[in-house]
């Protein structure tokens, strides 16, 4: 692509340079031609004029001489022309001849240099001849005057002179006319040539502009094509990146789920073993405590052992909730919208005054396979976390409930593990401090906590995770440091009929178990 552009640029530049050079050459030629008009014809005309001037001097001097002679002589013989005066006239006539000759010399020189077509040789000869005759007659008149010739003779000579004067001036005029004509012809020819050259130059200019235009269009199209290709490549890269990102996201989430499953198995196993270990601790310490003297140190110590054992027992219950083999009563279901309203009205009182709680429940009846007590735990835990995240100053927590349709391979914001179907989506979002990117993947792991020692067990979110996944749902957590955190809990919706049936069964069982749930 670049090489082609480079090559085209070189070719175009060469072409335009040649055109410009040719144009300049034409302009120079037209300049030279116009100069030639000047150098050829104008001096020729000037010289001819000078020659005429010479002839006119001869004519005028001779005429003056004759006039003076006739005026003084003729009848009045007493006033003859002095030799001095005649000499002066002669000198003047010679001067005229001299200037004629000089001009003629220059005209000839012009011929030699310039090959001037006009006046032609015959014209020049005619002028020369008439000049020579005129000069000769002029000299005869002078000598006649000098010799005091009879007026008869002088008048004859004068008539001859006048004829010759006419001839000489006529020849000059003819030559001048011809030269002027030639100059005009030459000029019009040159004008034609120059016009032609100008047209050529103009043509070359237009051609150069056209070449540049075509070249520009070519370059623009080339650049457009290149830009398009680049854009396509970028789009492709972006699409690839998005696909890779999507797959990575799915893989990450699957890996996270596998990790949680493994953790669940482990935690369940540990809890089972530790529960067995706790039975003798609690039972025997309780027994010994009852046996010990009331108020004795021994009894107090045993009370402490018992309390620790019971604390451990509660901890294990939470762990088991996470591991999904909850030792609690069998899971039934509840109507989420009502349950959420009740829980939120209780929770509102527990939240700091600086925290705004907004609820948006867009569902009338949403039966989900989760116990009401579990919903309480979930909502209280998440609200408490949100309030902790808001910490300083004022903040807001948004709780919303909506129905969502999950389809395979649908939006990115839906957990990959869910079966296709309808879900209730419970969202709890805060504008608190957010969760660091490095921390986010671990939030559901049991005993993982960022709270100070003694403030949190690290089981809150694990328990929520256990409850939700046990019910066939899933959780998405989104967080940005400094902007807030959002939990989306997806719980499968039970069909209304089924939900009712389930509730009935549960109620029956609750009655049945009512007696059983004594203290446990």
């Amino acid at each position: 692509m670049k090489f082609r552009l480079y090559l085209a640029s070189v070719v175009v530049l060469c072409l335009v340079s040649i055109l410009v050079f040719l144009g300049t050459e034409d302009a120079q030629r037209s300049l030279r031609l116009s100069e030639e008009i000047h150098t050829r014809t104008v001096p020729a005309l000037r010289h001819l004029e000078q020659m005429r001037f010479g002839i006119l001097r001869i004519v005028s001097s001779t005429s003056e001489l004759m006039v003076a002679h006739f005026a003084g002589g003729g009848q009045d013989e007493q006033r003859p022309r002095t030799g001095e005066a005649v000499t002066t006239e002669t000198k003047l006539i010679e001067q005229g001849s001299d200037s004629y000759r000089m001009a003629r010399q220059e005209l000839l020189a012009l011929y030699l240099n310039n090959d001037n077509p006009a006046p032609d040789h015959a014209d020049l000869q005619a002028i020369d001849r008439s000049h020579a005759e005129l000069a000769a007659t002029s000299e005869r008149i002078i000598s006649l005057v000098h010799a005091r010739a009879s007026p008869q003779e002088l008048t004859e000579a004068k008539e001859v002179f006048e004829v010759q004067e006419m001839q000489a001036l006529g020849a000059i005029a003819q030559a001048l006319g011809k030269t002027q004509q030639a100059a005009d012809a030459q000029y019009s020819q040159l004008t034609l040539e120059i016009t032609e050259l100008r047209n050529q130059t103009l043509g070359l200019g237009v051609l150069a502009v056209a070449v540049l235009l075509i070249y520009s269009v070519f370059v623009i199209r080339l650049l457009q094509r290149e830009a398009k290709a680049r854009q396509e490549a970028e789009d492709l890269a972006a699409a690839n990146a998005a696909e890779i990102e999507r797959r990575r996201h799915i893989e990450d989430r699957l890996a996270a789920h596998q990790k949680m499953e493994a953790l669940g198995t482990m935690v369940g196993g540990i809890a089972h073993s530790v529960n067995n270990l706790l039975v003798p601790i609690i039972t025997l310490s309780k027994m010994l405590k009852q046996d010990a003297p009331a108020g004795s140190e021994q009894q107090l110590d045993l009370a402490r052992i018992l309390a620790s054992g019971e604390k451990a027992s509660r901890l294990l219950k939470d762990m088991l909730a996470f591991s999904r083999t909850g030792a609690a009563a069998p899971s039934g279901g509840c109507e989420l919208a009502d349950c959420l309203r009740r829980t939120l009205s209780l929770a509102r009182a527990a939240l700091p005054a600086s925290v705004e709680l907004h609820e948006r429940i867009l569902v009338d009846a949403a039966w989900v396979p989760v116990e009401e007590s579990e919903i309480d735990t979930i909502v209280f835990n998440l609200l408490s976390n949100a309030a902790d995240a808001i910490d300083s100053g004022s903040g807001r927590i948004d709780v919303s409930l909506a129905r969502v349709m999950v389809e395979k391979g649908s939006a990115k914001k839906v957990p990959v593990r869910l079966q296709a179907g309808e879900y209730a989506c419970l969202t709890i979002a805060d504008n608190g401090c957010g969760i660091a990117e490095t921390v986010l993947p671990h939030v559901f792991e049991p005993f993982f906590t960022t709270k100070p020692v003694g403030k949190g067990t690290g089981l809150g979110l694990s328990v929520i995770y256990g409850s939700v996944t046990q019910a066939g749902g899933d959780i998405i957590v989104d967080s940005k440091l400094g902007a807030g955190t959002r939990f989306d809990l997806f719980l499968p919706l039970l069909e209304r009929g089924t939900a009712g049936a389930t509730t009935n069964t549960i109620e029956n069982r609750s009655k049945e178990l009512g007696q059983a749930t004594l203290g446990g």
């Binding site: 369940g268 529960n275 039972t283 083999t325 069998p330 899971s331 059983a516």
Partner: protein, 126 residues
């Protein structure tokens, strides 16, 4: 005062719960697993059975089912420490199969005592 069959594979659990129940005045016979319990049930009669669920050799679920078949009136108190075995909830399973009361480990001994008094105080058949 009742006669109990206490079934648990953990000897320490048996010892502690047994001692507590005995101290409360009950007669307690212990068995290490479901098989042993069934063996004892052949020759002896009890007011109630207190059994763990997850045990080696015939677990609590099998025991509950066998007791239901043989002596339908004998009340059973099932206790489990939980433990992850698939997504099955053993306690709810035991309840579904007819365990009268289900309790989760570590069970509070007084709660167990109250449960025993309850089932023994109102024996459905004896």
């Amino acid at each position: 005062m009742a006669k109990l069959l206490l079934v648990d594979d953990d000897a320490d659990v048996r010892y502690a719960l047994g001692k507590y129940l005995r101290r409360a005045g009950h007669e307690v016979v212990e068995a290490g697993d479901g098989k042993a319990a069934l063996f004892l049930l052949k020759d002896d009669s009890f007011d109630t059975i207190v059994t763990d669920i997850i045990m080696p050799e015939a677990d609590g679920i099998e025991l509950v089912m066998a007791v239901r078949r043989r002596t339908p009136g004998l009340p059973i108190i099932a206790i489990s420490g939980g433990g992850r075995l698939g997504s099955l909830n053993y306690l709810s399973m035991a309840a579904g199969l007819g365990a009268k009361i289900v309790l989760s480990k570590p069970v509070d001994p007084d709660t167990l005592l109250a449960a025993v008094d309850k089932v023994v105080g109102h024996p459905s058949s004896r």
